[in-house]
Structures are given as structure tokens and as C-alpha cells.
Amino acid sequence: MKSLTRNILLTAALLVAGATSALAASEADFKAAYAAAEAANKEAASLRNQWTTTAATLAAAKKAAESGDFDQAVAQAKEAEALAKASSFQATSEKERWKDLEIR
Amino acid sequence: MASTIRVRATSNGDITEVQALIQHPMDSGFVKDAQGAVIPAHFIQELTFEYDGKAVFVADWGPAVSKDPYVKFSFKGGKKGDDLKIGWVDNKGASDATVAKIL
């Protein structure tokens, strides 16, 4: 009983810790998230398929970090990374699909 | 310096139709440049067309008129070969004027 309760409490604590670690983002968290987003955007650049919204979201992330709101900054950086990855995905996924639109 | 006013006035004996294209930035004063600074207001405030010593068309303009404005209007009278005077003054005190023959 006691060990089960302890397990449940431990699991609950870990889950909460997972949740709260996102809530209490640090500058280090931001820097890591931003770097990841930038790297993803660079990949998109090599494919010559960046989105304008990626750069805008990166800028928003930086701005939030500068004002000390690291939660927002991390959220924006992760959004930017998702946008960048989507744009890279688009570059490859659309490569053959143009034929569907072609007038023949 | 070349005139900022292009004008063509044609008379059918009864009515004269006038078209004019004026080169002017017509900055409203509400637009910011790439650096975020406001582009100062710079627009034509008064535009006048005169025939036979009388004003046949006067426009009081403001920031709502766009760049390189085009004007078209008609007035009664006006004979082929007569002069039509056009002039404008802007909010900076600059002006330009020209005279065109009615065709």
C-alpha cells in the first residue's frame, strides 16, 4: 500500500515536474530552443524554401527573451522550429507533386 | 526641370474635357519608412484650372489623395486653340504651373 502510494506520488511528482519545468523556462532553455530553431531554418535555407513566418517567429522569440519572458521565448522558439521543419518538409514533399497541377 | 503636369484638354465645341496627370509623392504623413520613422506629409493642397481668367476647377486636396494623382473633369465652354492654365501648390509651399492649348 505504502509503496504503491509512494509510486503514484512519485509518478505524479515527475509528471508535475515535467509540466512545471516547461512553465519555469530559463535563459538556457531559450538559448537551446532558439539554436535548434535557427539550425532548422538554416536547413530550410539550404533547400531554398524558407517561410517568412519562421523568421518573424524567431524575432518574436528573441524579443520575448530580451524582456525576460523566457516561457514565451521558448514557446516562440519551438514554434519557429516547427515552422522551419515544415518548410523543409514542404521542399521535399512538393518536389514531385507539381505534376498534378500541370496543364497537359 | 520637366513639368510635373501632363494635361490634355479637348473641346467638342460645347464642352471641354480635361485630363491631367500630376507627378507628386502625395505623402500622407501617416506612413513609416523601413527604419520606422514617419515620412513627413507632403501633398498638393490646392489644384486650379483656369480658363479665360476664371477658375473652372479648383481642388482642395489632403492626405487621402494618392501618389501621382490623375484628374478628369469637363467644363462648359472652352474653344479649340485657347489656353488652359493649370497650377498646384503643396503643403511645403512648392508649386508648379503649366499652360496647355485646348485641342
Binding site: 535555407a45 531554398r48 517568412t52 515544415a86 514531385e96 507539381w98 505534376k99 497541377l101 496543364i103 | 501632363r6
Partner: protein
């Protein structure tokens, strides 16, 4: 972290699935047939708009909407591109510091030749557009190049287009495999979806000509470059083909390439070729 892995797995799975689905179409791997393409392209648009004559297509949205057409006809009596055209004529006649002129760089002194651009340069193995040729002319004569998107470049190309008004577009694709490749690349660019909005040029200009995107009436792709450069009310000024390509990219939330990058030159080559026979109407005016 585990979420990320799951997402990328899903993405990868989707990508594979898409590729697998696309494979059968890819098997119809074609050597490009520009003649057949042009025929099909013109047929598509003339069928869609049976009331239009072929040459009407060069007027873009004005041939798609009667009210717009009326306003445009009136505007053409006193067109907004007049200032740029006059400026262009003057610039064209003014010699460089070394005494040479633009005319010295072009066949027929640069008069009445716009309809031959872009062309495929076999020495260089690349497509050369009129804008590119003009800046190369400047640099070859010790002058600084102009921005590709507006102002002087627009004025110069406006004048050169004007000297070719009425002449049919006449783009040549030599029997050089690299020329065919450039044409094909241009075609692929035209139809490939991009930007966060996932639009291709074709999305608007093939699928929806005459329809509206927000307040604008969309132009058909056939003849779409014949009126360039254009005075666009939206820009409150002149813009070149480079300006239109780059701004279109950003409008669909794709970061534009640099003006005159190879993709854009190939795109211009493809689009111009398909409009062969349609008259040059530039410089033009657009909403």
C-alpha cells in the same frame, strides 16, 4: 522530446507515403516538349475564356472583368507609367561616363528587341533576361548596377518594352539540352507549391484566373509577362518582373530568392515562351 520524435516519425511516414503515391506519375518521365506545352497552355485558357481573343490575355485582370476593363481603357489615355517611360527614354539615350550607350550592348541598338527576352545564352549555359542584360551592360561599361525591382531598372525596361509594343513575344529554345533543362526547371518552379500558404504560381494563375483573392482579380498565366514592367497601384509605383516574382513569394509567406536568381530566370523563360505569339503590351498598369 519523445513528442518530437513521434512527430518526426509521422512526418517521415507521410513523406514516404507521398513519395510512394507520386512514383507512378514520375514514371511518365518526359523529355520536355515546349511546343506541346504551349499548345496545351493556350488551349486551356482560350477554352476557359471563349469570349476573349488571344491578344486580350496580355491585359491580365482587365480582360477578366468588364468594369475593370472600362476603367483601364480610360486610364490608358493618361497612363500612370508615363513618367517612368519618359525617364527611361532619357536614361537610355544618355551615354555612360565612358561615352558608350545602352544601345551599344544590344542588337538593333536596343530598339524593338524586348520580345526576344529572355534568351538562352549557350556560352554561359544560362537564361539571360532583359534586366540582367541591362545591368551587365552597365557593369561592362564601368557603371554601378541598378536594383532589379524598381526605379531606374523599371524605367529602362519600360522604354524598351514600349519600343516593342505590339510585337509578338518571340522566345527561342535552341536544341541545346541545357536550354530545355532551364525551360523544364522554370515549369517545375511555376507549378511547385511553396510558402506557408502552400501556393504555387499555378494555384492562382492557372486554377483561379478571373476569380478574386481578397480584393484583387487574378490574372491568367497566359500572357502574364507581356505587360511588364508595370505601374501597380498597390505599389504606388513601377515594378519589374523581378519585383513581381519576389513580392509574390513573400505574399504566400515564402522567403523570396534574390532577384535574377536562376530559378526566377528559368521561370521567366518558361512563362514567356508559353506566351509566344501574344503581343508585347508593356509598359503596363495594374491595380
Amino acid at each position: 522530446m519523445s513528442m518530437g520524435k513521434a512527430t518526426s516519425l509521422v512526418s517521415a511516414a507521410l513523406a514516404l507515403a507521398t513519395l510512394a503515391l507520386a512514383a507512378p506519375a514520375a514514371i511518365a518521365a518526359d523529355t520536355p516538349d515546349p511546343v506541346a506545352d504551349a499548345k496545351a497552355f493556350q488551349k486551356y485558357f482560350t477554352t476557359k475564356f471563349p469570349k476573349l481573343k488571344l491578344e486580350d490575355f496580355v491585359n491580365g485582370p482587365y480582360s477578366m472583368n468588364e468594369d475593370l476593363h472600362r476603367q483601364w481603357e480610360e486610364k490608358e489615355q493618361f497612363p500612370p507609367y508615363e513618367f517612368a517611360l519618359e525617364s527611361g527614354k532619357q536614361m537610355f539615350a544618355t551615354p555612360f561616363k565612358n561615352g558608350k550607350t545602352y544601345g551599344d550592348c544590344f542588337p538593333n541598338k536596343g530598339i524593338g528587341i524586348r520580345q526576344n527576352y529572355p534568351y538562352f545564352d549557350d556560352k554561359e549555359g544560362k537564361v539571360v533576361t532583359l534586366e540582367l542584360a541591362l545591368n551587365r551592360c552597365r557593369e561592362a561599361n564601368g557603371e554601378a548596377p541598378f536594383s532589379y525591382v524598381k526605379d531606374e531598372m523599371a524605367s529602362l525596361t519600360a522604354y524598351m518594352a514600349f519600343t516593342s509594343r505590339g510585337k509578338p513575344m518571340d522566345i527561342k529554345i535552341p536544341g541545346d539540352p541545357r536550354a530545355l533543362q532551364a525551360y523544364q526547371k522554370g515549369k517545375e518552379y511555376f507549378y511547385t507549391r511553396r510558402g506557408q500558404l502552400n501556393f504555387s504560381c499555378a494555384t492562382c494563375h492557372v486554377q483561379e484566373p478571373g476569380e478574386r483573392i481578397r480584393a484583387e482579380v487574378l490574372a491568367p498565366a497566359l500572357g502574364i509577362l507581356n505587360a511588364m514592367p508595370i505601374y501597380r497601384s498597390e505599389w504606388s509605383g513601377m515594378g519589374t518582373t523581378s519585383r513581381r516574382f519576389t513580392t509574390c513569394n513573400s505574399q504566400i509567406r515564402g522567403v523570396p530568392l534574390s532577384p535574377q536568381d536562376e530559378e526566377y530566370r528559368d521561370l521567366e523563360y518558361y512563362l514567356s515562351y508559353l506566351s509566344n505569339g501574344l503581343p508585347i503590351s508593356g509598359p503596363g498598369a495594374r491595380p
